[in-house]
Symmetry: C2
Subunit: 180 residues, 2 copies
Amino acid sequence: MGQRDAEATRARILAAAVIEFAAHGHSGGRIDRIAREAESNVRMIYAYFGNKSGLFDAALSDAIRRMAEEVPPRPTELPAWVGELFDFHQRRPEVLRICLWAQLERPEAASEPLETYLAKVESLQEQASPAISAVDLLVIIYAVAQAWQLAPVGLLSADGRASHETRRAAAVEVVTRILI
Amino acid sequence: MGQRDAEATRARILAAAVIEFAAHGHSGGRIDRIAREAESNVRMIYAYFGNKSGLFDAALSDAIRRMAEEVPPRPTELPAWVGELFDFHQRRPEVLRICLWAQLERPEAASEPLETYLAKVESLQEQASPAISAVDLLVIIYAVAQAWQLAPVGLLSADGRASHETRRAAAVEVVTRILI
DNA sequence: CCTAAGTAAGTATCTATTTACTTATAGGCT
DNA sequence: AGCCTATAAGTAAATAGATACTTACTTAGG
């Protein structure tokens, strides 16, 4: 790398880390691979992020921030929102993957960017009913948007006529019916 | 171990493997820990299961079989079924955990016990509607039953008045509304 | 010319898998 | 019944390759 640019190097490392950790998780992710892929150096990773866990947490926060920015909550149009979440997970499966890894491998880190979630809860408050609280509603909406990414591929391929659109429509329909 | 009993040793290893892999996954799970915890020996693991992946797959199949036996599908009473699935995941979180690890680390293995799922799909066929196919319905029901296990703990603890019962009721209510 | 950015080559530890060995036990033989 | 032995069950220790993290050094640029 001819020029020296700390910010750019840091950004390349972070981007490579998101990809690597989304693919292999914290324990399976390899520092050397990240360094190579970022066209940087192992030493730089430790300079910028301290250690492997620090890098993982930074990658996780980055991914969650992206999701919160790209798909902001729409408390008055929840069916439309679940559709956008569904699309997002198809478009960027690495974000859900890194969140799942975090939930399994570092649950304490997974709760870190909590304000993001709590803000959403507040805005959902008025949609809550005696049967389903605001938090539960948020939990369910996320689960429905992610459902197809969590299903074993073999099961999904059993549905010959299924497509992105039919699944998206099913997710939207579910949330519509929940709110009635 | 005074007595020699191949079956018993194999069973102890498998039980220890389920616990270890549910906690740390395929890549994070340690063969030595499994051998120690099973009060057996590294060599025996290789004798019975070939290699680490063979042991992981055996542990996964064992966990899925247990779930299929303990919570058989009830195609005509889906809301009741989702309630039982919800209870099961609270009671045995390790089953969902090992399935998630498999989905992330060895997706090809995760689809292996496919007949189990496909049988359920057939029985759900009559509940399907133009908006939601049988496969999609199954995918959604699983997702709702698991939803609270996938949510970050910080989000869940934000709901002060929530309990096992209120969440279970919310899951059942959701499926009830979906089917109308 | 001093500081921050970058590089290359270790090191110490860990970990899956193997090798070489010991011991219990079932079942045939006398 | 009691002995003998082939085989399966079990153990301990080595090996070979990774891998997170460090140390000691070089170079660009304000």
